[in-house]
Amino acid sequence: MASLLILSPLVLLAALGAVWMARPVHAALLLALALALNAVLYLAMGADFIGLVQFAVYVGAVAVLIVFSLLITRQSDETEEIARRPKALVPGLLCTLPVLAVLLITASKVPAASDEAPALPLKKLGEILFTTHAPAVLAVAVLLTAVLIGAALFARETKPNDP
C-alpha cells in the first residue's frame, strides 16, 4: 500500500510532464519514465511477470520506437516546440472519455482487492492465455501482421526509374 501511495503520484507527475513538455524529446523521455514507473508499480504489487513484460515491451520497445521516430523525422531546427492548440482539447477528450468510462466500468465489476494477491504460476498463465483466450491472441496476431505489411508497403521506396 505504501508503495502504491509513493509510486502513483510519481507516475501521474511523469505522465503530466509528458503531456506538458514543450520539446518532443523531453516529452518522450518522460513518457518512458512514466511507463517504467508503471512497471515498478506492477512489481511492487507482486505481479512480477506483467511488470517485467511492461518494462521490456513499453520501455524497451515502444519508448525506443517513439524516440527513434523523433530522431529520424526531427527538423533541423533544434528548438522546435510543440504548439498547444486549445481546439485539440475536443478530440482529445472524445478519445479519452470512452477509455476512462470502460476502465471505470471494469473496475467497478472487479471484486475489491484483497490483501493477499492471488498467486498465478507462469505456466498456468500461459495455458489460460493460449487456450481460453486464444481467439484474442490470434486476433491481435492478425492485426499486428496487417500493420506490419502496411508499414512495409508505406516504407517501400518507389523509384520510377528502377526496374
Binding site: V25, L29, A32, A36, A39, D48, F49, L52, V53, F55, A56, V59, G60, A61, A63, V64, V67, F68, L71, I72, E78, L122, K123
Partner: protein, 400 residues
C-alpha cells in the same frame, strides 16, 4: 537450502563466504532479521561487482595485449611487469581528467546517460547462475528480467547521443539504436527456443537441465547449434563489438554517442560496455554452453563456478579474436544481414525446438530436426550470397 550443514570453507561455497560471514556476524550480534537479509544481499551484490570489476580491469589489459599480438606489436608494457598496472594507470588518468560538458548539452540528461548505461549491465549480472550454489538473485523469471533490464540500454544510448547536442553522438546513437533493435529480435527469439525446451524462465533451472556431460548442453542439439550460433552473433552485435562496432567506429564517427564525454563519465561508458559484454556472454554460456556444468561427468572435485568462468573466458577470448580478424561492416550490410538472414533463421529454430521438445532426445529426433534447420540454413545462405549481396564492384582503372 539449509545454511547450517554446509561446510563454510569448501571451494564450491567460496564465493558465498563474504555473505555468510556478514550474516553470521550480524546474527550473532543480535541484529533484526531484515537487517541481516538486506546486508547479506548487499554483500552478495558487492561480491559479484568486485569479481567483474577486477575482470573488467584485467580484460582491458588483456584485450590490448591480445590485439597487439595479433597485429605483431608488443602492447602496453611500461606500467608494471607485463603492463599489469596499466588498468590502474588508466583509472587514475580517467579520474583526474577534467569533466567537460558541452555548452549545448542538456545538462541533466548528459549526466544521467552514463549512469543509466552502467545500471542495466550490473542488474543483469545479478541473475546469472555462476555456480551450483552461487546465483546472486535466483529469480524465477530470470531470463525475462535479463532482457527487460537490458532493453533500458537503448534509451540510455539515445540520451547520451541526444543530450550531447552535437552531430557525431547523434549519428552514433542512431546507429546504435537501429543496430540494437534489429539484433535484439533474433537474440530473444533464439533464447525462446531454449525456454521452450526447458519449460522454464529460471536461469538456474535451465543450467540444471543441461547436466551430465557436454552432449547434454543445448549447443549439442540440432536446433541448439543453429540457435547458439545465431545467439553468439547477436551477442557480439548487442555488445557493439567488432565487426558490429559501427556505433562507435573510431575511423568514422569519432566515438559515437560517447564523443562528448570525458573523464570518469567516459570511463563509465566503457565500464557499462564491458560489464554488458560479461553479462551477455554469461547468458550465452548459461543458455547454450551448460552454464556451470562440467563438460564431463566425474569432475565433481572442481568447483562449478570455475567451469563457468572458464567458459566465459573462452567466449570473451573468441570476441577478441574476432575483433582482431574481421573488418567493420557497413550499416546497410549490417541491417540487411539482421533482417534478411538472422531473423528468418532465428524463427526457423522455434519449430525445430518445439519438435525436439516433443520427440525427446534420441536418434529419431536428430533425423527429423537436423534437416529441418540445416536445409533452410543452406538455402538462406545461398540466396543471401547470390541475390542480396551487393553487386560486384568494378574498378575502372585498377582492373585489367
Amino acid at each position: 537450502m539449509s545454511k547450517d550443514n554446509i561446510p563454510l570453507w569448501s571451494p564450491e561455497h567460496l564465493p558465498l563466504l563474504p555473505q555468510r560471514l556478514v550474516e553470521m556476524i550480524l546474527a550473532n550480534l543480535g541484529a533484526p532479521e531484515w537487517l541481516v537479509s538486506i546486508s547479506g544481499f548487499m554483500v552478495a551484490a558487492s561480491t559479484v561487482l568486485a569479481v567483474f570489476m577486477t575482470a573488467f580491469a584485467l580484460l582491458s589489459l588483456i584485450e590490448r595485449k591480445t590485439l597487439a599480438r595479433a597485429q605483431n606489436r608488443i602492447g602496453p608494457n611500461r606500467a608494471g611487469w607485463f603492463g599489469i598496472l596499466q588498468p590502474v594507470a588508466d583509472g587514475i588518468k580517467m579520474l583526474t581528467k577534467e569533466d567537460i560538458v558541452p555548452a549545448r548539452a542538456v545538462k541533466l540528461l548528459h549526466l544521467l546517460a552514463p549512469i543509466l548505461i552502467v545500471l542495466p549491465a550490473i542488474l543483469a549480472l545479478g541473475v546469472i547462475p555462476y555456480g551450483r550454489e552461487w546465483t546472486p538473485v535466483p529469480l524465477e523469471l530470470g531470463l525475462l528480467f535479463f532482457f527487460a533490464v537490458g532493453s533500458m540500454t537503448e534509451l540510455s544510448v539515445f540520451m547520451a547521443g541526444w543530450a550531447s547536442g552535437s552531430k557525431f553522438p547523434m549519428l552514433g546513437a542512431m546507429r546504435a539504436i537501429s543496430q540494437m533493435v534489429s539484433y535484439e529480435l533474433p537474440l530473444i527469439i533464439t533464447a525462446l527456443g531454449v525456454v521452450m525446451v526447458s519449460g522454464t524462465l529460471s536461469l538456474p533451472e535451465i543450467v540444471q537441465q543441461q547436466g551430465g556431460g557436454f552432449w547434454h548442453w543445448n549447443v549439442c542439439t540440432p536446433w541448439g547449434i543453429v540457435a547458439g550460433l545465431l545467439f553468439y552473433v547477436c551477442t557480439i552485435a548487442e555488445a557493439n563489438r567488432c565487426p558490429f562496432d559501427l556505433p562507435e567506429g573510431e575511423s568514422e564517427i569519432v566515438a559515437g554517442h560517447m564523443t562528448e564525454y570525458s573523464g570518469f563519465k567516459y570511463a563509465l561508458f566503457f565500464m557499462g560496455e564491458y560489464l554488458g559484454l560479461f553479462a551477455i556472454a554469461g547468458l550465452f554460456v548459461t543458455l547454450f554452453l551448460g552454464g556451470w556444468q562440467a563438460p564431463l561427468p566425474g569432475l565433481g572435485l572442481v568447483p562449478t563456478w570455475l567451469w563457468f568462468f572458464g567458459k566465459l573466458a573462452l567466449v570473451i577470448f573468441s570476441y577478441l579474436w574476432i575483433r582482431a580478424t574481421f573488418p567493420r561492416l557497413r550499416i546497410d550490410q549490417l541491417m540487411r544481414f539482421a533482417w534478411l538472414c538472422m531473423i528468418p533463421m532465428a524463427l526457423l529454430t522455434l519449430p525445430a525446438a518445439a519438435i525436439w521438445h516433443y520427440m525427446g532426445r534420441g536418434p529419431l529426433s536428430w533425423m527429423v530436426v537436423l534437416p529441418l534447420v540445416l536445409v533452410p540454413w543452406v538455402l538462406v545462405a545461398v540466396i543471401f550470397n547470390k541475390r542480396l549481396a551487393p553487386a560486384t564492384r568494378t574498378y575502372r582503372f585498377a582492373d585489367g
